[in-house]
Symmetry: C2
DNA sequence: GCAAGTAATTGAACAGTGGTCAATTGCTTG
DNA sequence: CAAGCAATTGACCACTGTTCAATTACTTGC
């Protein structure tokens, strides 16, 4: 006792992603229901399951887009009229870009780095690995010479990342805006860079 | 068409907390249902609502206990045959204690520092503030002299905390055990302390 | 000793969730 | 034009947190 829509109004993967993106960005993962997305699209919730296996898969498609955005933000920050001489400043800018990205796309960040729902962890997220690899490369390049990079695992990039991660995580939770914490972020990052520049 | 239990078998707040604690510790906040807790207690789910307003209030009661544990862990670490001479080592031990606490009580930590459910954020958590104040005090005391503590907001303790927070957050998410990451934690903390000891 | 009142418990009911699936339909191809 | 396919529907299931009238055990006043 159901029907099929006319070809013009048929549901596309892209349309679903777009509606879902705006909803997830407003309310976060759990607060958005498949029925909610469907009603925004003007279709039934069952239809979405034809295009995506479940809510998690739908969401993870958006997450991968998020990592692409982050990579772009990092490259942009790195190439800002780089004082190539001072790679540490470049690193600082990259770290700021990371914080900024997290604060300006909190719900993206949340799922990219902060989701423990098994239903989401099922899906692998290659974008995350790529993103971190790039960051580590930038750190290594900035530290080169000042620090014994070889000899055992070089965990400095990882420590820096986790320290930024803690910052972003906390301020996302408290719902603050990027503008409110730029100063604190700069102080935080300067302290971190200080620890590797001596 | 219901009944009341005999006085001997009546439900106490403590019993509920105990059952809930073990369940939450195993499965986390969302994966535990009120009906699940009730069935473990051998009562109906409605009965719990007589003792706690809602699921969030029940959980937050456990969180406050968590902060008490954390404070105790910090004090213990600080008083471990302290080389009072070297307060930086004491700080390192306190930071390790923090990481250890997080890793050994991941679900406690999760709700103490990682919950964004509005339903839980409604309840204020005084324990968190107290805990951080104590930590900041220890940092200030360790840094005294080496660093311009006065003059503007002294954000170093906050930066250190966020950097630890990022570490714990990440490894809780990946479900690792404390033993697996002690080494990494030590490296991380040494890097952080390095940034304030120069 | 008994009646009234209170405190605690129950389970049905409600509105919501994610997910499944037979039935139905529009479109496409032979 | 008939057969088949692809897309959509909405009833349905099992579950969630929460509410609340009804019921009962215990306590208190007389």
């Amino acid at each position: 006792m159901a029907a099929r829509k006319a070809a013009e109004q048929e549901l596309s993967r892209e349309q679903i992603l777009e509606a879902a993106r705006s909803l997830f960005a407003q309310k976060g993962y759990r607060a958005v229901s498949m029925r909610g997305i469907a009603s925004q699209l003007g279709c039934s919730h069952g239809a979405i399951y034809y295009h995506f296996r479940d809510k998690a898969e739908l969401f993870c498609a958006l997450v991968e887009q998020g990592f692409q955005m982050l990579r772009a933000a990092i490259e942009t920050a790195l190439s800002e009229k780089a004082g190539n001489a001072d790679k540490l400043r470049g690193l600082e800018r990259v770290m700021m870009a990371f914080v900024r990205f997290g604060m300006e796309h909190p719900h993206h960040y949340e799922i990219m780095f902060l989701v423990n729902d098994p239903e989401i962890m099922r899906y692998s997220q290659p974008g995350q690995v790529q993103c971190y690899e790039r960051f580590a490369e930038i750190v290594r390049s900035a530290v080169e010479g000042r620090w014994p990079v070889s000899g055992g695992m070089f965990t400095v990039p990882w420590s820096l990342f986790l320290s930024l991660h803690g910052f972003v995580t906390h301020y996302i939770l408290t719902g603050q805006a990027y503008g409110d914490i730029v100063g604190l972020a700069e102080t935080h990052i300067r302290l971190l860079v200080r620890s590797i520049s001596s």
